[in-house]
C-alpha cells in the first residue's frame, strides 16, 4: 500500500506517494534527482549515503522514506548558498581532501554534524567522529586537515 509523505529537502517541500520499503537514499536520488547522495555499500557500513535528518547525520540507506515523513533533510546539494561553497566544501577543495570523490558528500555531511556538536574538535575527535565514513582513496589525512581548517577559521 502506497503512502503519502511530505519531506522538506534542502528547504523545499516535496509530497509524494511512496511504497513503505522505499529507502530515503532512493527517494532522494530517484524521485528528486538529487544524485549527490551516493550509495556505496548499501549495508549501513560506508557512510557514502550520509545526509542530515532534522540536523543529525544518518545513513540514508538505512532509513525508510516513510520514517522521514514530516522531517527536514539536508543533502550535499543543500550546503552551498548563492553559488558560494559551504566552508567544508571549500576546505575539502583547498586541502585536496578528495580523489575520486565518491565518499565526499557523505564525509562532508558527517563532518557538518560533527562540527555542530564539537565546533573545535581535536584531530582524534575528528577521526572518531568520522569513523562511520570510509574513504578508499585519500588515506584520511587530508580529510582530517580539511575539517580542522574549518574549525580553525571559525574559532
Amino acid at each position: 500500500m502506497r503512502q503519502s509523505v511530505t519531506i522538506n529537502v534542502n528547504g523545499q517541500r516535496h509530497t509524494q506517494e511512496v511504497e513503505p520499503r522505499l529507502l530515503l537514499a532512493h527517494f532522494l536520488r530517484e524521485r528528486l534527482g538529487l544524485t549527490g547522495t551516493n550509495l556505496g555499500c548499501d549495508t549501513s557500513q560506508c557512510g557514502a549515503c550520509t545526509v542530515l535528518l532534522d540536523g543529525q547525520a544518518v545513513k540514508s540507506c538505512t532509513v525508510l522514506a516513510v520514517q522521514a515523513d514530516g522531517s527536514s533533510v539536508t543533502t550535499i546539494e543543500g550546503l552551498a548558498t548563492n553559488g558560494q561553497l559551504h566552508p567544508l566544501q571549500q576546505a575539502f577543495w583547498d586541502n585536496h581532501a578528495l580523489q575520486c570523490g565518491f565518499c565526499t558528500p557523505g564525509m562532508i555531511m558527517a563532518a557538518t554534524d560533527l562540527l555542530r556538536r564539537h565546533p573545535d574538535p581535536t584531530e582524534a575527535e575528528i577521526r572518531t567522529g568520522l569513523d562511520g565514513n570510509l574513504c578508499r582513496c585519500t588515506g584520511y589525512e587530508n580529510i582530517v586537515k580539511a575539517v580542522r581548517s574549518v574549525a580553525e577559521q571559525s574559532s
Binding site: 520499503r21 529507502l23 525508510l64 562511520g132
Partner: protein, 289 residues
C-alpha cells in the same frame, strides 16, 4: 537493496502500538531500524508489517526518579551518550553508548531496539545486566517488569513475548563509593563488541562491598562472572586482587562463540584482559565518588 513488501503503521502512543501489534500478526516493531532494516534488506527478515514506535513521545526521554534512572525505550544511543543526567548518575551507560558503532548509527539506534534485538555482540545488554536493571514492557495483558538478568535467553532471543512492547529501561543510580567502567574490543569493521566487559564496584572503608562483572560477546548472552565477583567482595581493590579476580573470568565462559575473526580461546583471553582493565578503571572511579 529493497526489502520484501510490508505494510507500515505509525504508533503515536504505547496503547496504539500494542493495539497495532495485536491487530497485525507477524508485524514487527520498528524503532531506529538499525538492526531490523539491514536484515530486511538482506531478506533475512520479512515481516508482513512494521509498527513504527519512534514517534511515540511517551517512549523517549530520560528521567531521574529518586534512586532510579528511567530511560524511554526509543531513547537513542546518541542521546544516552550526551545526557548529563546519565553521565552524572550512571556513567557506564553513557560510556558504553558512546562506543556503539559510529555517530550515524548512534543518531538512529535506540536502547530498546538494542535490548530487544539481543545481538550477542551488542554493548547495552551487557551493561544493563551488570547494573541489575529491569525492563518494563507493555502488552494487551498490561505492563510487567522483566529483570535484565533473566531477559537475554539466547542469541537474538529475549524473554519478551510476541507483540510485547518494551517501554522503559530502569537502572539504579550510582550510590556513594560506586564506580563503573565498560571495556570493549571493537570489531575493526563493524564496530560491534567482539568481547565487552562491564564492571561496577562499590567501595567502603577501603574495601569492596559489592562487585558486578558481566561479559558480553563471548557467550550467546551476557554472563555474570560470579567467581570473580565473589573473589573481590571484602577485599581492597588493588592490582593483585583485581588480577586474581580477572583470572577467574574464564570459568564463566564454558563454551564461547567462535568465528573467523575470534576463536573461542581468543574470546576467553580477551574477556580476562578486558575484565582487568574494566575493574581497574571502575575502582579508580569509585574512589573519586
Amino acid at each position: 537493496m529493497y526489502s520484501a513488501e510490508f505494510e507500515y503503521y505509525r504508533a503515536t502512543s504505547v496503547a496504539e502500538a500494542v493495539e497495532l501489534m495485536r491487530a497485525h500478526p507477524g508485524a514487527k516493531l520498528l524503532a531506529g531500524g538499525h538492526s531490523l532494516l539491514p536484515q530486511m534488506k538482506l531478506r533475512v527478515s520479512q515481516p508482513a508489517a512494521l509498527v513504527d514506535i519512534s514517534r511515540a513521545a511517551e517512549l523517549s526521554g530520560i528521567t531521574l526518579d529518586g534512586e532510579m534512572l528511567r530511560i524511554g525505550a526509543t531513547t537513542t544511543h546518541a542521546a544516552l551518550a550526551a545526557s548529563p543526567v546519565v553521565s552524572e548518575h550512571c556513567a557506564i551507560l553513557s560510556e558504553a553508548a558512546s562506543l556503539i558503532g559510529d555517530q550515524q548509527v548512534r543518531n538512529r539506534g535506540t536502547i530498546g531496539g538494542s535490548l530487544a534485538h539481543a545481538d550477542p555482540a551488542a554493548d547495552l545488554p551487557t551493561v544493563i545486566v551488570a547494573l541489575g536493571g529491569t525492563l518494563t514492557a507493555a502488552s494487551a495483558a498490561g505492563p510487567r517488569d522483566v529483570l535484565a538478568g533473566e531477559c537475554f535467553v539466547d542469541l537474538f532471543t529475549t524473554a519478551l513475548t510476541e507483540g510485547e512492547v518494551l517501554t522503559r529501561v530502569n537502572v539504579p543510580a550510582y550510590g556513594a563509593g560506586t564506580g563503573g567502567a565498560y571495556a570493549k574490543h571493537r570489531h575493526p569493521a563493524s564496530g560491534y563488541a567482539v568481547v565487552g566487559v562491564a564492571a561496577i564496584v562499590t567501595v567502603s572503608d577501603g574495601r569492596c562491598t559489592r562487585a558486578r562483572l558481566v561479559v558480553g560477546g563471548a557467550q550467546p548472552n551476557p554472563v555474570s562472572a560470579s567467581a570473580s565477583e565473589a573473589a573481590l567482595e571484602g577485599q581492597p581493590l588493588n592490582e593483585a586482587t583485581i588480577a586474581a579476580a580477572a583470572a577467574q573470568v574464564a570459568q564463566a565462559l564454558p563454551n564461547p562463540l567462535s568465528d573467523h575473526y575470534a576463536s573461542a580461546d581468543y574470546r576467553r583471553q580477551l574477556a580476562t584482559v578486558l575484565a582487568r582493565r574494566a575493574l581497574v578503571t571502575a575502582a579508580e572511579r569509585a574512589a573519586e565518588r
